[in-house]
Symmetry: C2
Subunit: 352 residues, 2 copies
């Protein structure tokens, strides 16, 4: 009989590292949902382009890709002396960091890698430093795998047999190095043998729910139904939704949560219909130095993301557009935070 | 100085009839928002195709197009004897009715035209019957123009200088023979010199808000901003929305209202943020024989409308989709109905 571990191993992966050969692979997410193409990354320019072109996306996955990308850029240079090798570490880390300058996890992971090089004993060989960098990249990856696993285990308890579970955007396996955050509870519950219906909001304008979430859940075998974002409320009215789990970009000290645009509307509708609304995120997403959601600056993006869909014009080319990437959900609408430390219930006080 | 009438005359028209030449024209809405193409309709097959292909859409506009379409199909046959001419009236009306069998306004308008022929005195000439049919088609059109105008006048009073007014889908000039229903108050207020911001929800999956509403408001000169449907709640949170006006497909006797999917979510968010939420519709949209929204059957449409946008695949081709065309908004969330008889306030009791 197939074990739970074997079932969970079948979840699609955003990236993978082969420790036998030090080879690094990513799933090209720009080819989804039509083509499943795994692409080996063999040099630093390729990794830069993969991050820049969103072939790999999602905060945790980008950080891990940065670490492995730096590592493979050093693989053929282990014959350099320590000074030259360390200069290359700095140069390639700076270069990769420019692929998505606003991605906090990317600079965080690259800093961890550079920190290993800077603190490494001067007497040790270049090969030994390379081995230490390799261990660090794998540790960054392993830590994310474990965080996702624990979020999945804690969150799976919330999912009832025969229920309906809704999500928005993609906080899935393809956004992380593991089994995702918001989708992790679904994967663990399903691997435990629970059967339920998943609902994926398509998530305009960039359609991560349509392109990625529905693809990864469907490929794994979860019973998933795609909806236009405007359908979520009506599904709740029909009594089809028992639980909503979404991810988070940043959580303020009082529990106010910035996440993909549309999250707050889901939470308000959930309150109206009495559906429990949860945030799943690594504990590190909680920022004790941001007192409330009022202090979170919402990024506004360009009009063309709304006016064009895959190159097809759907609105007047010169129309004004308001295209915020995120919104902030009031903490009073959130039933709990599913983290690797367990489920945190209100009242929330994450102050430093 | 430009008069209010001159300003209102500049609103785009879904269709027009030239009484000097008995020529009938439609704006090809399938070419929007990129091309503004007015197409003369010269035979009954062309009108059938225009309705079938959604070149003309919106319940009132389809009815009027059916009446004029029937009329122009008879124009070159005024030399027939009465029996042959009346047979042609029936034949062409039946044929046109098949272009959108579920469109209640189409069968209603065609029945009115056929009724004229059936009741026409036997002694009168074919030319006299044609003239009566012509008068009937123009009366159907004029009545819709007047209904829209009155909805506009009553609703314009709700719009404050400097405020934000939101709508969903297209209940605009291009859905009617006049200046629209939900958009009529905006046109009248703007023509009266009031300045305000309009917000158009793009309205997935068919994007009528992006393709049509934002096009017609922008072309007229109203300050309109397009948003993804999921942005509406966040705009309310920002305090940018002072009023929401949408159309209706059917209003039950207790005020529960069926309208484009997403309407109910807007109304729930409006209640959460204290934004007044209005329905604009002809009084005939109210169905006293439907006691509540529970009795309204919601049409489900195909998966491909969600999976493909203008032919581009945005989700797995074999994904399950739930694609309801409408939802039902609870009467308790509705601040009033803007009709040609005035604004109707709660408590609602439209029983027969």
């Amino acid at each position: 009989m197939e074990t739970k571990e074997a079932r969970l191993a079948a979840i699609p992966k955003a990236l993978s590292f082969d420790p036998a050969s030090d080879r690094f692979y990513i799933l090209d997410q720009t080819r989804l949902p039509t083509d499943e193409v795994v692409e080996e990354q063999t040099d630093v320019e390729q990794v830069y382009d993969s991050i820049y072109q969103l072939k790999v996306r999602g905060a945790p996955a980008i950080g891990i890709a940065g670490a492995y990308g730096l590592l493979i850029s050093l693989k053929e240079h282990r014959d350099l002396d320590r000074n030259a090798f360390e200069a290359l570490v700095h140069k390639n880390a700076d270069y990769l960091n420019g692929s998505r300058p606003t991605a906090v996890n990317l600079s965080w992971a690259l800093k961890r890698m550079v920190g290993i090089a800077e603190a490494f004993p001067p007497g040790e060989s270049t090969a030994a430093l390379y081995a230490a960098l390799r261990a660090e990249a794998m540790a960054i990856h392993e830590s994310d795998i474990e965080t996702c696993r624990l979020i999945g285990e804690y969150g799976a308890e919330l999912i009832e047999e025969g229920s309906g579970v809704m999500t928005l955007c993609n906080a899935g396996a393809l956004a992380t190095g593991g089994i995702g955050t918001a989708l992790a509870p679904m994967y663990v519950a399903w691997a435990n043998g629970k059967r339920f219906r998943a609902y994926s909001n398509e998530t305009r304008p960039l359609l991560q729910g349509a392109r990625i979430t529905s693809w990864e859940l469907h490929r794994f075998g979860i019973d998933v139904t795609l909806i236009a974002d405007s359908v979520a409320s009506y599904l709740m009215k029909l009594g089809k939704v028992d639980l909503i789990i979404v991810g988070a970009d940043r959580v303020a000290a009082n529990g106010d949560t910035a996440n993909k645009i549309g999250t707050s509307s889901l939470a308000i509708n959930a309150r109206h219909y009495g559906v429990p609304f949860y945030i799943a995120c690594p504990y590190s997403t909680i920022d004790p130095h941001t007192p409330t959601g009022e202090e979170i600056v919402v990024e506004e993006r360009g009009a063309d993301e709304v006016i064009y869909v895959k190159g097809q014009q759907i609105a007047p080319a010169d129309i004004q557009v308001f295209n915020p990437a995120f919104d902030v959900t009031d903490h009073e609408l959130i039933a709990g935070f599913i983290t690797e430390k367990g489920i945190i219930r209100p009242p929330y006080n994450f102050s430093a």
